[in-house]
Symmetry: C2
Subunit: 331 residues, 2 copies
């Protein structure tokens, strides 16, 4: 509540001096400094981040934004945690928003962040053509993409080697003897979805198996679509003996569908999911998954963002992290 004005009055100095004590503190004689610091303490002065931000308009607001598609998805929650910890360590505050996989919401929040003059933004773009994000980048705000990439703009990016993860998962199923493997993928406009599909197709091809169109279904990353699509696949006259499901929520949906049909996992249908699940060990059966290092994704994204804020002209880099196949009992 106390302003520089009041502190200055109490210490009998000008506000400039108080400001100097607070910032580049070398230019102030010790006695003056002592007096000012006392006044600062007495009044319990706290600088207004708002005023500071209005004045400085560089990259020193110590505020960054994070837009995630679904806070209830553990994958994103883990990313958020990584970002948050790195931000806290650097004394940055985090403006966190939930876009609900909804482009309008995403656009709204991007606007808010611009208007709040955040120092930078971290997000997984809605899809690789995401116009709202591209517009935002035009305005010059540093943007770091996580998980998903953008076709029309190059930014700093932290991603997972989705191709490799999918390839490993499907190879694993093939090694277990499966020849008919269904694919439940996410929205195909998203870069990760296509990478995973490529991994699936290549793994099949490398083992002399032919991919069948009817075994490949695209959903929207949500639990319900996993359930529906698994049912579609299992309703086929010659259903697949294994399912590769491309994200955590859809995996849960698929498992539910299989349970409901009273099929045994993995004897009747094997399942491998992309994304680990927080309580995988307690699930029935514990699912085999491709684990993504989500926490690291968040952490590294924040570090990249900090670097870019310091050095805005640095050429964008891409960090690619490796996923890990965790074999449990569903395959």
């Amino acid at each position: 509540m106390a302003s520089l004005q009041e502190v200055a009055r109490r210490a009998n100095v000008s506000i400039a001096t108080v400001s100097r004590v607070l910032n580049q503190s070398d230019k102030v004689v010790p006695e003056t400094r002592a007096v000012v610091e006392q006044a600062l303490r007495d009044l319990g002065y706290r600088p207004s981040r708002v005023a500071r931000r209005l004045r400085m308009k560089d990259g020193r607001a110590h505020l960054v934004g994070l837009i995630i598609p679904d806070i209830q998805n553990p994958f994103y929650a883990e990313i958020a945690r990584g970002v948050e910890d790195a931000a806290y360590a650097a004394e940055y505050a985090l403006l966190l928003c939930n876009s609900d996989e909804n482009p309008d919401k995403e656009r709204f929040y991007l606007g808010v962040m611009r208007d709040e003059s955040v120092d930078g933004i971290i997000l997984p773009p809605f899809d690789e053509a995401d116009a709202a994000v591209v517009d935002t980048i035009q305005t010059g705000i540093p943007v770091v993409c996580v998980d998903r990439s953008l076709a029309k703009a190059k930014t700093d990016l932290v991603e997972i080697d989705n191709y490799r993860g999918a390839h490993e998962a499907v190879s694993h199923l093939i090694a277990r003897g499966h020849k008919h493997i269904g694919l439940i993928e996410g929205r195909t406009q998203v870069s990760t979805s296509r990478e995973r599909r490529r991994g699936y197709l290549d793994a099949l091809a490398e083992h002399g198996l032919t991919a069948r169109k009817e075994f490949m279904r695209a959903g929207d990353f949500k639990q319900e679509s996993g359930r529906v699509l698994a049912n579609e696949l299992l309703d086929l006259r010659r259903p697949p003996t294994a399912l590769f499901v491309c994200n955590n929520l859809m995996t849960v949906g698929a498992l539910a569908a299989i349970h409901q049909r009273r099929l045994r996992i993995p004897q009747d249908v094997a399942v491998v999911g992309f994304d680990d699940l927080p309580w995988a060990e307690a699930l029935d059966p514990p699912p085999t998954v491709v684990r993504q290092p989500a926490y690291d994704v968040g952490q590294q994204a924040m570090e990249l963002l900090l670097k870019r804020i310091m050095e805005p002209t640095r050429p964008p880099v891409t960090v690619r992290l490796l996923p890990e196949l965790v074999v449990r009992r569903s395959s």
Copy 2:
């Protein structure tokens, strides 16, 4: 990027007029308005939330803060979702922070929010004596507590009827024939913990069962402590035949401990947990839980906060929501 200044210049009016077009728009003649609006469009003007907030210092920043103990805990994620949806509906932006059940982090973020001049703050206090929160309330910022209450200050509060939830859960176990029921509770300085314990004790007493000290263990709400405490209880010479575990993460920990000992649920040990788990149906076995309406908690908290921002002197109210016993196969 474009400021009022530039818009004014382009429209050949003063900045005051532009501002009027944007705000109390009645006092501007239609022709002027049209010109200004055109200029606004041409330049793609967006008001700076920062400048606006600096100037207004009322409750009109359209920014609120939410501090939650752990974003990876689905209970809080669901609260966050409720808050976020209500905020979005009212066109408020949300500053979301993660305190990690750590009072220092909580204090840090409360400071940030003060310095950002948010219109209000929603949070579950660390414990009922939480000094950082009490201090913040002193400064006059509207605060709404969720889930947990504060002893020394009365604020708007949205809470769950924890007593009733616990009472129902334990009564249910007793009805299933259990006479030796262990309690794994959270930090006892938290109001919810004590309510739940009261429910446990009263339910026992009402059925003529005596509570035993050694059956009651306090943890810290985290998964690991659920595992450790369940092991302690099961290591007793005459272990309980049922466990009432007071939050979701500790429940998962307890289930893991039981599984590791190769005990059957519910035959060897029955379990009822507080808080639902997102994929309860996929767990082995699906746990019986006391479900809290977390989304509603968040939503109502946000609505209470909005009301308080509009009318700061309104006496604080308490909203109490009812939990629901969801019987599944662990009991």
